[in-house]
């Protein structure tokens, strides 16, 4: 026989533990969700009721009516059934909510990381999300200053600013350094073993119990470590470590990308500054010749701002009448060779045409397709003018030397002819036919000698005589002479500077210059017109329209303008060459202007012609003051 007391004692134990369970539930209610907590509480209450009923019945206080079995018994499995049905369902819902929350956070983080280019912003966001998702009191990202240097806090949550700034973890003496060195996540209890001083201070300050460190790996290289601490005496679960690893992988990739983007942006800014500030005009056009890039040099050269020409067809830089040449010559060459360089006319915003040197090259991608065409342009108008001037000078010098040499030989022959003609004439009877013939030979030989001397003048490099010369008296004398010889309908106007500087030169040659130009003007005007002679003091510069070779400094300008027929543009380039004349067969030797050119050049000066058909001609002579 089993004593009733044993049964009653067992029931009392049931009541006691049921009460314990109930108290435990109420005391730790927050650790249970509502459904499971309620059902467990119901089970505890049923157990108390079951035990109490049994004690009362077995103790004889109540009649034996099996109340426990009949009344409370069926409710117990019902409560268990609901517990087993509801708890997994609730947990599945909670898990789903947690997963959605984490995925949402990861998605948000990934989106932010893609658009964020600041490594600091990325690290701040990662530590914030890690702390929020895992409910961690302290999370920080630590990186070394250099490869093996101590770790310093770059971003943190839950750590006060002073602590974060002062924290400097020595290599290999802490969890983060070890995780960084090994490249794998590590975790440790902060309660079990001795801790380094700094870590111990942190643990004490924030009441941490467990820590985990996850390396930030990008391309197999550890950039730093994420350190997380918790204060609830729990180890980090595998799922938590995996979540932190995912965050760290995102962060490391984003930091790496941000750094690369930073370097690319830096490099791009550097090259953009170089290109933008280049003196030359740099233009990039797409395959359809629409402007993609237009640097400041191009803005200066053409006068168009980049915004004004962006996406416009690049043909606007060429003069309208030369655009067909671009299509016929430049583009085929560019297509064939990939590059083209040369001089070509270009036009500014204000309509001014100038000569530009084009260096064009096509830019290809890795598949060999044309991405764009790069053009580097510079204004070479001045260079072209100087080159032509140099060419002209060289040509004149060569022709002068040649003419001088020939004239020298002819002079020798003419000297013999002249001497013989004089002797022959003296031996003949004046008035006879032979005498007249000998006289004609002598006169022709003298004219030939004069022509020879004129030719030899072209080859001289220095003035025959050098002395201070004021051009005004020479001009006045020449004008007096010209008034007697020029037709009366030709008006002579002078405008002479009162304090004209002197030049160093040959007064006779200067007189010859004036006379040659005046005679040319007369021939151009015919019987009527105006010849204007002007002198003035000027400052000579080597970058002016007269080009290089002239000595900068004080100088004198002599201008002779006529109202004659003018010189056609195609003849202007050759007007100073020997034997070039616009007078046809009417007596011009073609040596007048070439002599003028030779004399002016010999005096260190320059001469230019400005003329248009029907609008007269203006010769401008610049001479350095002496």
């Amino acid at each position: 026989m089993i004593p009733k007391a044993v049964i009653i004692a067992l029931d009392a134990v049931t009541i006691a533990f049921a009460l314990t369970a109930g108290v435990g539930l109420l005391a730790r209610w927050r650790r249970f969700n509502r459904a499971s907590g309620g059902l467990l509480l119901a089970l505890a209450v049923l157990a108390v009721a079951w035990g109490t009923a049994n004690v009362l019945e077995w103790g004889g206080i109540l009649p034996k009516a099996d109340i426990a079995e009949d009344v409370f018994g069926p409710l117990v499995p019902v409560a268990w059934l609901f517990l087993f049905i509801l708890v997994p369902e609730q947990q599945a819902k909670q898990r789903l909510r947690g997963t959605v929350d984490r995925l949402g956070a990861l998605h948000r983080l990934a989106t932010d990381l893609v658009t964020t280019t600041s490594p600091q912003a990325i690290m701040d966001e990662v530590v914030t999300e890690a702390a929020r998702l895992l409910d961690l009191p302290v999370v920080a990202i630590l990186t070394p200053d250099d490869h093996a240097g101590p770790l310093k806090v770059r971003a943190s949550v839950g750590m006060d600013e002073t602590t974060a700034e002062s924290l400097c973890l020595e290599p290999n003496r802490n969890l983060s350094s070890q995780a960084l060195g090994r490249g794998t996540p590590l975790q440790a209890s902060l309660i079990d073993g001795p801790l380094p001083d700094q870590t111990a201070a942190l643990v004490h300050l924030y009441g941490l119990t467990n820590a985990a460190a996850i390396p930030l790996l990008a391309d197999g290289r550890a950039l730093g470590a994420l350190a997380a601490g918790r204060a609830d005496n729990r180890r980090f679960t595998d799922a938590e470590i995996r979540l932190l690893q995912t965050l760290c992988a995102h962060a490391a990739g984003a930091i790496q990308n941000a750094r690369l983007l930073g370097r690319v942006a830096e490099s791009e800014a550097k090259y953009r500054a170089i290109v933008e500030n280049a003196q030359a005009a740099i233009i990039v056009v797409d395959a359809y010749r629409h402007v993609l890039f237009w640097n400041r040099g191009a803005e200066r050269l053409f006068g168009w701002a980049a915004e004004e020409v962006s996406d416009h067809h690049v043909d606007f830089i060429y003069p309208e009448d030369r655009r067909p040449d671009v299509i016929r010559h430049i583009l085929p060459a560019l297509q064939r060779d990939g590059t083209w360089s040369g001089e070509f006319p270009a036009v500014r915003k204000n309509g001014e045409t100038f000569t530009a040197f084009f260096s064009l090259s096509r830019v290809f991608d890795s598949h060999g397709s044309v991405i764009c065409t790069l053009g580097i342009l510079s204004d070479v108008t001045e260079r072209v003018r100087l080159r032509e001037q140099l060419f002209q000078a060289q040509k004149m010098e060569t022709l002068g030397t040649l003419a001088g040499g020939i004239a020298h030989d002819f002079n020798n022959l003419l000297t013999a002819i002249l001497g013989s003609a004089t002797l022959l004439r003296d031996s003949l009877t004046p008035g006879s036919d032979d005498y007249e013939s000998a006289t004609s030979i002598e006169q022709a030989a003298r004219r030939g000698t004069q022509l020879g001397e004129q030719l030899m003048d072209l080859s001289r490099r220095e003035p025959a005589r050098v002395e201070p010369v004021n051009l005004n008296p020479i001009i006045r004398e020449a004008v007096r002479l010209l008034r007697r010889t020029l037709p009366s309908q030709i008006e002579l106007v002078t405008n002479l500077a009162p304090h004209l500087r002197s030049i160093r030169g040959d007064p006779g040659q200067m007189h010859q210059v004036l006379m040659n130009l005046a005679v040319n003007a007369r021939d151009a005007m015919g019987q009527a017109g105006t010849l204007t002679i002007v002198t003035e003091n000027v400052n000579l510069t080597d970058d002016g329209p007269f080009g290089d070779g002239i000595r900068p400094g004080p100088g004198v300008q002599l201008t002779l303008s006529d109202t004659g027929a003018g010189v056609p543009p195609d003849e202007q380039a050759h007007i100073f060459e020997p034997f070039v004349t616009t007078k046809g067969n009417e007596g011009g030797t073609g040596l007048g202007l070439s002599t003028v050119y030779a004399i002016v050049t010999r005096h260190g000066g320059r001469i230019t012609l400005e003329s248009a058909p029907g609008q007269g001609a203006t010769f401008r002579i610049l001479l350095p003051a002496g």
């Binding site: 026989m1 049921a18 369970a21 035990g51 059934l81 997994p88």
Partner: protein, 114 residues
């Protein structure tokens, strides 16, 4: 209907056991439920003991429909007492384990964290 309550409880326990067996994969995924399985088994044992105790005393029909059947008066003897003891012991054990499971719980059984 002296044994109706026990029989009903046992029946519900069987239903619950079948549910657990059918959804055992769920219980594998919910580790926080595992500490509650043993208390539940002990409850099943307790109710099974109660019902088994009644079986030798009459047929099932009598147990169910006649509260004061002649068989009921024949209950007793050591098997009945052992089964009765087993019932109370199992129930007490179940409650003890339940209390332990509750007190040892660190987080909510549904787990709000991974």
């Amino acid at each position: 209907m002296q044994q109706f309550g026990e029989l009903l409880a046992l029946g519900l326990c069987v239903v619950t056991v079948l549910y657990v067996l059918m959804h055992r994969h769920v219980f594998r995924d919910v580790p926080t439920l595992k500490p509650f399985l043993l208390p539940f088994i002990l409850v099943v044992v307790a109710f099974a003991a109660t019902v088994v105790e009644a079986i030798p005393t009459g047929d099932i029909a009598q147990i169910i429909f006649w509260e004061e059947s002649p068989a009921a008066t024949q209950r007793g003897g050591w098997p009945s007492e052992v089964l009765n003891l087993l019932e109370h012991m199992a129930y007490a054990g179940s409650v003890i384990l339940l209390a332990l499971a509750i007190w040892r719980r660190r987080t909510a059984p549904t787990g709000s964290h991974p």
